[in-house]
């Protein structure tokens, strides 16, 4: 039934309790919400600065003390409005939504590109809490754009591998390229990825070649977030509810759209650019 027990689907208003700067162009927004505190790695919320549009954001952290956070990069009006908020400002929250990652590996490889790291850090932390230290590839355009680098260095030590497009630090090239090298040297039983879609496509192809399971977190235009409107459709799935984490089997079913086309807010298919 739909009722008060389904509170995660309802709009709650809470305050920003802290703001943090990450890399050079990202802001962490921290808030208290009991339902977000119980989230799973890979889940997202709909977050709303009441002066602008409500948007989907992956949870970058959530802890038992009730504090959660999202990491916002300015890419348009709504994200600019979120980045410009102050401590004490009110935000609206719906969620957490989506399936999240499944922890199924004994030797996992995690591959992150750009802001994709947001969903993957909580995953790495949960693996470490279970006594498994994943291998983590953290990729970005350059050294200044590596969010959560310290958090990951402290967590993973030498199992953190860095790549930058311009080679300003670590491996020069895409995270997927470094990941392929590492997969050639060592054996993994599961791969996780979040980042630019074309990078994820490249990694998916590699895992198919090697016969490895992959879980990839996809992004589409999300409106309702509860699986009703179909705006976030890819193949037979709704990114908002069946995803955002897609397994190998699901990726095979959406292969003609993965890295190729997405729906714009009207429902017309447009090209995936990156």
């Amino acid at each position: 039934m739909l009722g008060s027990q389904d509170r995660h689907e309802q709009m709650r208003v809470t305050r920003i309790i802290a703001l943090t700067d990450e890399a050079t162009d990202m802001r962490g927004l921290h808030f208290i919400d009991t339902l977000c505190a119980q989230a799973k790695p890979g889940q997202y919320i709909m977050i709303w600065n009441p002066e602008a549009e409500e948007v989907p954001m992956s949870l970058a952290s959530f802890s038992r003390d009730g504090t959660s956070s999202v990491l916002v990069r300015e890419v348009g009006e709504s994200t600019r409005a979120l980045c410009g908020m102050n401590k004490g400002d009110k935000i609206g929250i719906r969620g957490p939504f989506g399936n999240g990652y499944v922890l199924q590996g004994k030797s996992p490889l995690i591959v992150s590109g750009g802001t994709g790291v947001v969903t993957l850090v909580p995953l790495a932390e949960e693996y470490v809490a279970k006594g498994i230290r994943p291998t983590f590839v953290l990729g970005a355009r350059n050294e200044k754009l590596l969010p959560f680098r310290e958090r990951l260095e402290n967590l993973l030590g030498k199992d953190l591998h860095i790549s930058t497009d311009d080679g300003s630090i670590g491996f020069k090239g895409y995270a997927s390229e470094l990941a392929k090298e590492i997969m050639g040297e060592r054996k993994f039983d599961s791969v996780y990825t979040c980042g630019p879609e074309l990078m994820m496509v490249s990694l998916f192809k590699e895992t198919e070649k090697l016969g490895l399971n992959i879980q990839a977190s996809l992004e589409r235009y999300i409106k309702c977030a509860v699986g009703l409107c179909g705006s976030c459709a890819i193949g037979p799935y709704r990114v908002c509810k069946d995803g955002p984490v897609f397994t190998t089997e699901m990726l095979r079913k959406v292969y003609d759209e993965f890295g190729k086309s997405r729906l714009d807010p009207s429902g017309q298919a447009i090209r995936v650019e990156h």
């Binding site: 039934m1 008060s4 009441p50 948007v55 459709a233 709704r238 017309q268």
Partner: protein, 303 residues
């Protein structure tokens, strides 16, 4: 009991069972609508299609409320010409398709009906009852004369049968239904969402960007059920019931009140796509347990 059949006849279209998805639900893509059909629906209903591409309203466009959901999507759709391919893909898989559509003017209603007819849909569902957009596009169906006019205009060009979807936000829905029938409607879908609003007391403002939205889900059911009862008493054409159906029991209530078929939307929020098949199975069990052989035998029994 092998003769027990769930098949129902709507004008121009025979369905394997009387359970459809409601317009606006998952109706933007071929593969999601195919999943609705594979989940057990008797036919699929598309998102409401207009003449031109529309992005709809800004988020928040949906908010969960006690007993249901309020939405103000604002008729996002890719435009009729674009949608032709999606209809053709569905038809190539032999899926019965009802195309929901709207227009900003009576001329636009005709144009869209014409394009969708040519695309090969099995039926058109004329949406003159969206509460979330400007009146000329949305609540044309609040007035009997306008309802009759737009129905008659669409009937001039439509090749497949035309179902007219009515709003519960009117004083006398029976009168509107009679006007649609007079305009030549082949069936009535009752009802669209009930206009409502949600306010946040911390923000001291409405939650939806559009301020008001349409209520769906269990809270709508008693109102919608009454509408179906009144409409089926007012007209001699079939009625499709819609509003807050979450289980097969709800669907039976609609059939007993005079609906020939039902549409379900909000249930998909808490249940899987199989909900369509599960409701059809429940209807089958009910018919068997009560000694009926066909759905139409129970239509309108609650008098």
């Amino acid at each position: 009991m092998s003769q027990l059949s769930l098949a129902v006849e709507l004008p121009g279209i025979r369905l394997r069972n009387p359970v459809l998805n409601a317009a606006g639900i998952l109706g933007l893509s071929t593969k999601l609508l195919k999943r609705v059909y594979e989940g057990g629906a008797g036919a699929v209903v598309t998102k409401s299609i207009g003449l031109h591409q529309r992005h709809g309203h800004d988020n928040p466009t949906l908010v969960s409320v006690e007993g249901g959901v309020l939405n103000a999507m604002g008729l996002p759709n890719p435009g009729a010409e674009y949608f032709v391919d999606i209809i053709k893909e569905l038809k190539s898989e032999s899926i019965p398709v009802v195309a929901s559509f709207f227009g900003a003017t009576i001329e636009e209603f005709k144009n869209v009906a014409d394009i969708l007819s040519e695309a090969g849909v099995d039926a058109l569902e004329l949406n003159c009852s969206c509460p979330n957009v400007a009146e000329e596009m949305g609540m044309l169906g609040a007035d009997p004369l306008n309802t009759e006019k737009v129905t008659a205009a669409v009937k001039e060009v439509a090749k497949p049968p035309v179902f007219v979807k009515l709003s519960p936000n009117v004083t006398d829905i029976g009168e509107i239904a009679r006007a649609a029938e007079k305009g030549g409607a082949d069936a009535i879908t009752a009802v669209n969402t009930l206009k409502g609003m949600a306010v946040d007391i911390d923000l001291m403002r409405p939650i939806l960007t559009n301020v008001t939205g349409g209520l769906s889900g269990p809270a709508l059911k008693p109102v919608a059920l009454r509408c179906v009862y009144e409409v089926s008493n007012a007209v001699n054409i079939p009625v499709i019931g819609c509003g807050g159906i979450m289980s097969w029991r709800d669907a039976i209530e609609y059939l007993l009140c005079g609906a020939t078929a039902v549409e379900m939307g909000t249930a998909v929020m808490t249940k899987s796509f199989d909900v369509y098949g599960a409701v059809a199975d429940g209807i089958r069990r009910y018919l068997r347990e009560n000694g009926f052989k066909e759905v139409k035998e129970i239509v309108g029994l609650a008098r």
